[in-house]
Amino acid sequence: MLLCHAGPHRLAFRAHEVASITSPGERAVVSARRAFHAADGASRVLVSAAGGAVGVDALEIEAESHPVLPAPPAAVRASGGSLQGFVLVQGQLWPLVGLVDFERFLRGLGGEEAA
């Protein structure tokens, strides 16, 4: 599991959804800060197997497995269906989102903002 930070906010991704980790500038990236209505910015880019990429500010890899707590449907709908639940790691709740869905959700937020 990848524990990421987007600004002051926390996010968690499943490790098998991430194909590789790259640096920004190698491809087109959407920033995870956009989900929290913050300015874009990233220091690391999570690349999915489908080619989607989401930029985060920092990340660490959690090798231990943790149970996933269900997420409320309203929160799932608010996240565009990308929120898969919450995990309790290091005494804190981390929202677990799917990388591809979250990347799509972020791009959708970018279109809304552009509109």
């Binding site: 490790a15 098998h16 980790i21 640096s23 690391r44 090798a63």
Partner: protein, 597 residues
């Protein structure tokens, strides 16, 4: 006949006694001829005719002579000439010489007339011989001088009056004297001549009468035939009727003597009157006192003396007045001078004290000038030291400028090196970042591999930590490089500021050096000037000492001057008293208006 007041008729009036004198002489001659019986009764017609002819001719000639001798006076009297000073002087000269000329003319007239009468009468008379002719000539010779003398005396008085009238027309007494200067001094000769005429003429007359009467008596007695006739002739001869004419002649001589005395006494009396008046203090303008010979000289000298005395008195009065005024002014001035001299002496005392004080001050100034000279020398040496220090400071500033420039160059080089180090660190940082990225991917793959990949994940995680440490270190190095860059930049700025400051300091040092050079030159000039001042002050001290001595001398002279002024004031007081005495003496004389002018 009254004398005319002006020139009109003056010539005729002056010449009139000439005719009168001649007429008197003729009458006496006829009376003498009649009483002596020298002329027979038959010859009287001829005699009267000839005498009348001679009288008419004589009067005519005298008239012509008078007109000729007094022609200018006659012309002035008739208005044919303007009474200018020139004509007046000519008329005056003619009037002056007229009596003498008249005397000579009358004398000639009688001489020539007597001879002519004798020459004419003897041939024309029936009973006349040449002896009678000789008696006629003798009568003329004896009566001629007497008549001439009488005419002279009568004419002289009138001529004097004419001179006074002519002078009154515009000639001053001094001008009259200048026109007729008293050169001839013939009064002795005149007196001799007068005496001779007065003695000889009557003697001749009496001699002729006596001789003729004696001869006639002798003839009558000798012709008498009887004693009675002889007694009658003797009685007739002893009657002395012929001597009556001699008595008349003597009377005429007495009259002439009286006139002569009057002629001499008149001017002397006038002079005496004037002199008495002057002696009494009444000094009128001089008047013309006409006279002849020595008397005229006396009159002229008296007139000149009067004029001179009048002028002298006027001048003396003015001088006395001026002396009085001047003396009063002198007295006042002397008083002022005396007080001024006292004030001057007082001022000189103060000045002398001041001069002595000045001498002491000059001495003190000389001492101060010496001190100032020494200080100026010290200042000059200090200025020299300061100039050397300024030159050394300028060299140090130059070296500092070069050192600063070297520091600036070194800092620039250091900055370049730091930039190179930054690039290296950046490169290391990039490698570390890529290493971190690689470690992340490796850990991700190990995690994906599950339990199998756990060890791989741990290694990857460790590598990742190393990479992150490297990144943090490079970050720290970048921070340090940045700080070094800022520091070098600040060093560059400081060095540039230091360079500018050094340049400003160099400029200031150059200015200081220049100023010190100027100060050195001024100090040299000041030292020279102070030395000159010191020398001048010493000379001034000497001069002030001499001045003090001179002031002492002046003070003594002023005191002597003050004493002399007091003596002069006393002398002025005496002079004022003398001036008053002089004024009093002069005021005794009453000077006429003409002299006052």
């Amino acid at each position: 006949m009254k004398a005319p007041e002006g020139l009109r008729g003056m010539a005729r009036w002056t010449a009139l006694p000439a005719s009168l004198g001649s007429g008197v002489g003729m009458a006496l001659a006829l009376l003498h001829a009649w009483l002596t019986g020298a002329v027979e009764a038959t010859d009287w017609d001829v005699l009267l005719f000839l005498v009348s002819l001679a009288l008419v001719g004589s009067l005519w000639l005298i008239h012509l002579f008078g007109l000729r001798a007094l022609r200018t006076l006659a012309a002035l009297g008739e208005g044919r000439l303007t009474p200018t000073p020139e004509y007046l002087r000519a008329a005056l000269l003619q009037a002056r010489v007229f009596p003498e000329r008249c005397f000579t003319f009358i004398l000639q007239n009688w001489g020539v007339g007597g001879v002519c009468m004798a020459l004419l009468f003897v041939p024309l008379a029936d009973k006349a011989d040449w002896k009678l002719g000789l008696r006629i000539v003798l009568t003329g010779v004896s009566l001629g001088p007497l008549s001439a003398l009488l005419v002279y005396l009568l004419v002289a008085r009138r001529a004097r009056r004419a001179v006074e009238v002519i002078a009154a027309q515009g000639l001053t007494p001094l001008e009259v004297v200048a026109v007729a200067p008293p050169r001839r001094m013939h009064i002795r000769r005149r007196m001799v001549l007068f005496t001779a005429i007065a003695v000889l003429c009557p003697s001749l007359f009496i001699l002729d009468a006596s001789v003729s009467r004696t001869l006639r008596g002798v003839d009558d007695i000798s012709k008498a035939s009887t004693p009675e006739h002889k007694q009658a002739a003797a009685d007739e001869a002893s009657q002395g009727g012929g001597l009556a004419v001699a008595g008349l002649v003597t009377l005429l001589v007495m009259l002439t003597a009286y006139l002569g005395g009057t002629v001499i006494a008149e001017p002397l009396r006038s002079i005496t009157e004037d002199a008495t008046r002057i002696a009494q203090g009444d000094l009128r303008p001089p008047r013309v006192i006409a006279a002849e010979d020595e008397v005229w000289a006396t009159s002229a000298a008296f007139a000149q003396m009067q004029a001179q005395l009048g002028q002298a008195l006027v001048q003396l009065r003015r001088a006395g007045l001026q002396i009085s005024t001047t003396t009063e002014q002198l007295l006042a001035t002397s008083g002022e001078q005396e007080s001024g001299a006292d004030e001057q002496a007082s001022s000189l005392n103060v000045t002398s004290a001041t001069t002595e004080e000045l001498a002491r001050s000059a001495q003190q100034i000389a001492g101060n000038a010496e001190s100032v000279s020494a200080i100026a020398e010290t200042t000059f040496a200090a200025a020299q030291t300061g100039q050397r220090g300024a030159a050394a400071f300028l060299g140090a500033m130059q070296r500092m400028k070069e050192d600063n420039q070297a520091i600036a160059d070194a800092v620039v080089r250091l900055n370049k090196r730091v930039q190179q180090i930054g690039k290296v660190v950046e490169f290391i940082n990039e490698i570390a970042d890529k290493s971190d990225l690689l470690a992340l991917n490796a850990e991700l793959e190990g995690t994906k591999a599950g339990e199998v990949g756990r060890g791989f994940s741990l290694v990857a995680a460790e590598m990742r930590r190393l990479a992150e440490n490297v990144i943090r270190s490079t970050k720290a190095i970048e921070q340090l490089i940045e700080e070094i860059r800022d520091a070098t930049h600040a060093a560059v700025m400081a060095t540039e500021a230091g360079l500018k400051t050094t340049e400003a300091g160099t400029v200031l040092a150059a200015q200081v050096d220049e100023s010190l050079s100027l100060i050195l030159e001024l100090a040299r000039q000041t030292s020279h000037a102070v030395r000159s001042i010191s020398l001048a002050t010493q000379q001034q001290q000497t001069g002030t000492d001499q001045l003090a001595a001179a002031m002492g001398d002046i003070l003594r002279v002023t005191e002597q001057n003050s004493a002399a002024t007091k003596q002069m004031a006393a002398a002025n007081a005496d002079l004022a008293s003398l001036a008053k005495d002089l004024k009093r003496v002069v005021e005794r004389f009453h000077v006429g208006a003409g002299e006052e002018a």
